[in-house]
Subunit: 320 residues, 2 copies
């Protein structure tokens, strides 16, 4: 275990905290309130176009902090390894986690490794936790959302979920890429561009855009209308979703953000999102209406309307 | 998943942070520097005399914070559940985790649950991370240890490891109890009793007392002598260790602390430990000598001497 740490983990993820190998990392006092989150990762396969479980584990936790309006600072990484996992496989995953951490500007400061016998895990499982510094300009909260407020989407939907699902579909060779990415920079750009006018942020992972939108309608008690033509879906993603019988709106993303902003701020917010590499296809994808029925509806391409419900159960097991 | 959260998890672990079910818990600014740690738990069986994986997961992370000289505050809990795990089993484990958290004075403020198919985990795996507030009177560091300094042990060794191992030994019925316990209170009592004279603290988990002692000798470069008659071992633990061919000094504990203190402070430190329910059998178990060979030796009952080495490999897989 010592050898694994010193020869495989530390050369990749090492920093002045992790290198200590103490029982805990000793960190400076944060500037204000903090955000704390955790996420487990059991994705199968471990590698998929556009990412792998290492990148996913770092981005997932970074994004949970970012959408709470916190600047991500420090991560922990717990690994459960199945006996027989190749060191080269682990090394590739850690290389990828390290690259994602560098991209996100965070450090993995503490970790743990457990090994279980063959057949007691599926390659490896990762659990990250993260600490972020809450920003003064963080979202004001769902309770502030009013009729007329705009729902923005930072880009195409369903890339991650379909990328992973296609890897598991026999007879299909696909290079459809996951969107897995750290969103701290994009969120910061948005918060700085329209300070005070961001009411809510969420990364639409499990349950997809539909899950977030239906939940927002229910929590605000307002009608939320999504505009299908304003929800970008890659052509190959739409094709893959048809093939698998899935609704792209309900499929997980790992590099997108949903934002609710004041109507006046929508254009400036979109400009800020579009100026960032992860927000080029940002759109005004929905709007809260005056009807107090807590429903989410979709205005379709053809001008029809249908109710958008919270996806029931898990369409897609082990996509993250 | 929502149902599991609302009906099984929140009624047991809920608090104002966890109940929010946000992407991250928003926590007040800590009073000073912080400690951050993580640990994974894959113990088998999930229940053993004296504890279970839930109590272990809370205590393990609380203790890692405590021995760094931090007051444990907030925990995260990540769960990987194997499909088919009984809800009653999960509920018992969460009850136990909640009781341990209450005993330790910490709150589980954020969590995550993933489900994998039958045969892709072994019941459940837990990963906790924790944040603590660093105390001003925290241990001064290994670099401060000098010849003459005393090594204190808070009680009997090997209870946890042997309790779990015996549960896995066919044909043996044992009620040998694990010592799994949260050590924040015991450590605080010690630090307050001999402020400035505590140089090092560690909970001797994997590798046991031998692992910690051999590591201390190597890191200080000093001879460290352990006194076998001063290392309390329960009679039934000694018997079980003989049966399994294990050295109790190398077996994991989950409710003990090893402390290095200045010679003058040793008696006051022992009195403070013994006044606490988890430190009643505390002893002066070793002393650093002037020989600069970085070796750890054991003075045996019979007056002999033997070298104590860092246990090689894992005697005991999946004991935590």
């Amino acid at each position: 275990m010592d050898e694994l740490l010193r020869e495989v983990v530390l050369p990749r993820l090492g920093n002045r905290w992790l290198d200590d190998l103490g029982d805990a990392a000793l960190l400076p006092r944060p500037a204000g309130e903090i955000a704390f989150t955790t996420d487990g990762f059991v994705v199968q396969p471990l590698f998929f176009p556009g990412g792998d479980i290492g990148r996913l584990a770092v981005c997932g936790t970074v994004n949970d902090l970012a959408v709470m309006g916190a600047d991500p600072l420090w991560l922990s990484l717990g690994m459960v390894l199945e006996e027989g996992l190749l060191i080269e496989t682990l090394a590739r995953i850690l290389d990828s986690a390290a690259a994602a951490a560098a991209e996100a500007g965070v450090a993995v400061v503490t970790g743990d490794t457990k090994v279980v016998a063959k057949g007691q895990a599926d390659g490896l499982y990762l659990t990250t936790a993260g600490i972020g510094a809450l920003r003064a300009d963080r979202p004001r909260g769902v309770q502030e959302i009013r009729p007329g407020d705009a729902l923005l989407l930072s880009g195409t939907v369903a890339d991650h979920g379909l990328s992973v699902m296609l890897q598991r579909t026999p007879g299909v060779a696909s290079a459809l890429e996951s969107d897995v990415a750290p969103l701290g920079g994009l969120v910061r750009a948005l918060l700085e561009a329209v300070t005070g006018d961001v009411l809510f942020l969420r990364d639409p992972t499990r349950g997809g855009l539909a899950g977030v939108a239906a939940d927002l309608a229910a929590r605000t008690g307002l009608r939320l209308t999504l505009f299908e033509p304003a929800i970008p879906v890659r052509r190959e993603v739409r094709y893959a979703a048809d093939l698998l019988g899935l609704d792209p709106l309900s499929v997980a993303n790992e590099g997108k953000v949903v934002a609710v902003v004041r109507p006046d701020a929508a254009n400036r917010a979109l400009a800020a999102l579009r100026a960032h590499p992860f927000g080029r296809a940002a759109s005004l994808a929905g709007r809260f209406g005056a009807e107090r029925d807590g429903l989410c509806e979709l205005e379709t391409f053809s001008g029809g309307r249908r109710i958008v419900s919270k996806p029931y159960g898990e369409d897609l097991p082990r996509i993250c």
